[in-house]
Amino acid sequence: MKTLLKNREIWLLAAIVLLIGLIATRFPAFAAPGNLLRVFNDTSILIILALGQMAVILTRSIDLSMASNLAFTGMVVAMTNAAFPEIPVAILIALAMLIGAALGAFNGLLVWLLGIPPIVVTLGTLTVFRGAAFVVSGGAWVNADQMSQAFINLQRGAILGLPVLSWFAIAAIAVFYLLMTRTPLGRAIYAIGVNPTAAVYTGIDVGRTKFIAFVISGLVSGLCGYLWISRYVIASVEVASGYELTIVAACVIGGISIAGGIGSVAGAVMGALFLGIINNALPVINISPFWQLAISGAAILLAVILNARGERKKGRIILRKAATA
């Protein structure tokens, strides 16, 4: 199992390298280190969101409300910044994470206490959160000239030659890696994804663990709300509309099983990078946006087919064991 997972991530890495190589044959500058770092920076928000989604998917759930959460939180912090430019950006970031986590907790409570399927809960809050963004803003935009310089420029600063936005992603990767592999919570998330019944017998509270996963996905959505708004310097109700599916796609391409329990931080990151590369490269090598969608879609299907094959192999082992029992 572990070697299988490793293999899967090595395959994904190979696919990414191959993709970069292919693009480089048409447009050599793409593969230059500086450009690859730019692509990484451009994909940072997707990476952070995919990590949050991964925590949820591993528990056999899904969070479709992430993009709406992002839009609402982004709108609130942008409006706060416009109204009170003297509030430090660090506080606004904390506020964004807090609001995002609260929205995630709302999802989590409905899943935990009422036992409603996550896909239904978050399909509902997908609309509710975006609607709330409309309500707080009255449909108005917050434009660049209303935002403070600190608000806009924080992520554009450089530390050790890398933009701060990239550092956000790197920090998220590190935190999630530790969370998933070095904490009891991470272990519980995997355990309830693989075998919820056994997890209950082991004393793991399945509902509570799912709740925490939703709080995590909400928290990163909130954080990305700030990052998104300050990157594209406009806050509107339509921000990141439909992006929830891109986040799920990154996870699926990264080998995170929609059935739960299988997946890793490395997978989520590479899944996001794969999409980031396609989105950045196809325009420069003059492929029409229509093809971009088709190519992204094909990548998702291919990933699903490969993962399904991997899991079938695992299934056979289970069957053999079940027959022995």
């Binding site: 592999t181 075998n195 056994a198 004393g203």
Partner: protein, 513 residues
Amino acid sequence: MHASAPISELRQPKSAAQPRLTLAGITKSFPGVRALSDVSLALYPGQVTALIGENGAGKSTLVKILTGIYQPDAGEIRIDGAPVKLPSAHAAFENGITAIHQETVLFDDLSVAENIFLGHAPKTRLGTIDWRRMHAEAREVLDAMRAAHIDPTARLRDLGIANKHLVAVGRAMSIDAQIVIMDEPTAALSAKEIEELFLLIEFLKDEGKAILFISHKFDEIERIADRYTVFRDGEMVGEGLLAETDQRQIVRMMVGRAVDTIFPERRPTVGGPLLEVSGLSHPTEFDDISFALRKGEILGFYGLVGAGRSEVMQAIAGMTPVSAGTMTLAGVPIAPKSAADAVATGIAYVPEERGSQGVVIGLPIFQNISLPSLKRTSKHGVLRLAEEFRLARTYAERLDLRAASLSQDVGTLSGGNQQKVVIAKWLATEPKVIILDEPTKGIDIGSKAAVHAFMAELVEGGLSVIMVSSELPEVLGMSDRIVVMREGRIAKIFDNDDLDAETLVRAAAGIAA
């Protein structure tokens, strides 16, 4: 006549008709386990044959072979003397074999008539379903069964279990099934519904159907069956006419076996009461359960499937809320609300289903073992992998776990070694009381002996063990005392000296001595 001919053919009374269905020399193995070994069975038209045997005797495997779900490794199935193959459930259906299960397998959201005619609905000339005819024919079938109270257009969901059984039988009638298997059909029925079911079985007999009736309840078998077949450990050990035998003889056939397992020699040093359970009750599963587990004791729990043993254990382990009753552990009142609570107080419950409730396949061995002990192996909320490995290695060695590496997926282990991982996982929580629910179910003889030896070692080390087991030799061979449960209540608590298997089975089945 050939020596291996089924006994049924030898013993069959001359007056009886030819069997409708005959099984001869049926053998079915799963890796490591022989579920059925050269068994024979005969079902006669217009007669009910009761299939009797302990849990694990091979009854379910036989039903699955008859309904085309499993393929026998060897042997022959004959219908009206002609050999048939049943490669699929559909083939069994085509051959007129139908099964009615404990929980009827029908479609809740379809109507009664649709359920009866699913797959063979009357069609119009255009190929669409002829609803009028389907409802009329369903009406006829139900009327013939004296089930006039069932409306063919009603949704199945709105019917009680007894009426669902009637619909299942109606389906059998509609395809003119000649062989009807009833797998513990009374398990979920009330006394009145059971009476109705028996009327229905009488009707099926009058229609000349051959019926296989599986039940744990002797009073039902006496009441309805004409013949019996007894299975034990996957072998057919006796059959005949019920009129020519009595319950004592059947019980003897069920349990009488060669001793093929050697249990560890034990000199129990039993101390004072450790876990005291008093008046534990649940609204539907069990009532007034009182017993005391003493320090250093193995307390066996025996009973038929559905006697409520596992449910009681789940309550003690904090998994099921109780409606009344108290528990004390070493004199201190406890009321665990979750498995985590129970583990914290020192009670570990090793559940019955190793695959679905025990191991977490997909996680490596060491992570399985440390899963309930993560609080102890982490510091400031951070896991210490070295600590986890040390814990896992300690218990893996104590249990003599055979694995190449503790990092390998637990799914790659054999059943016996998986069971060791599950037990190791719970021992690592350092419990005072460990509850083992069917600890050797479905594992090979060697692993069984290892688990038994280990249990003996545990109690010598001062741990107290509750062992739920349906295997008589195991219960008798390992327990210091035995609690027998029947229909959610404690029937009797025996001291295990000079106790014989028949006494236990009689207590479990509620047969007077």
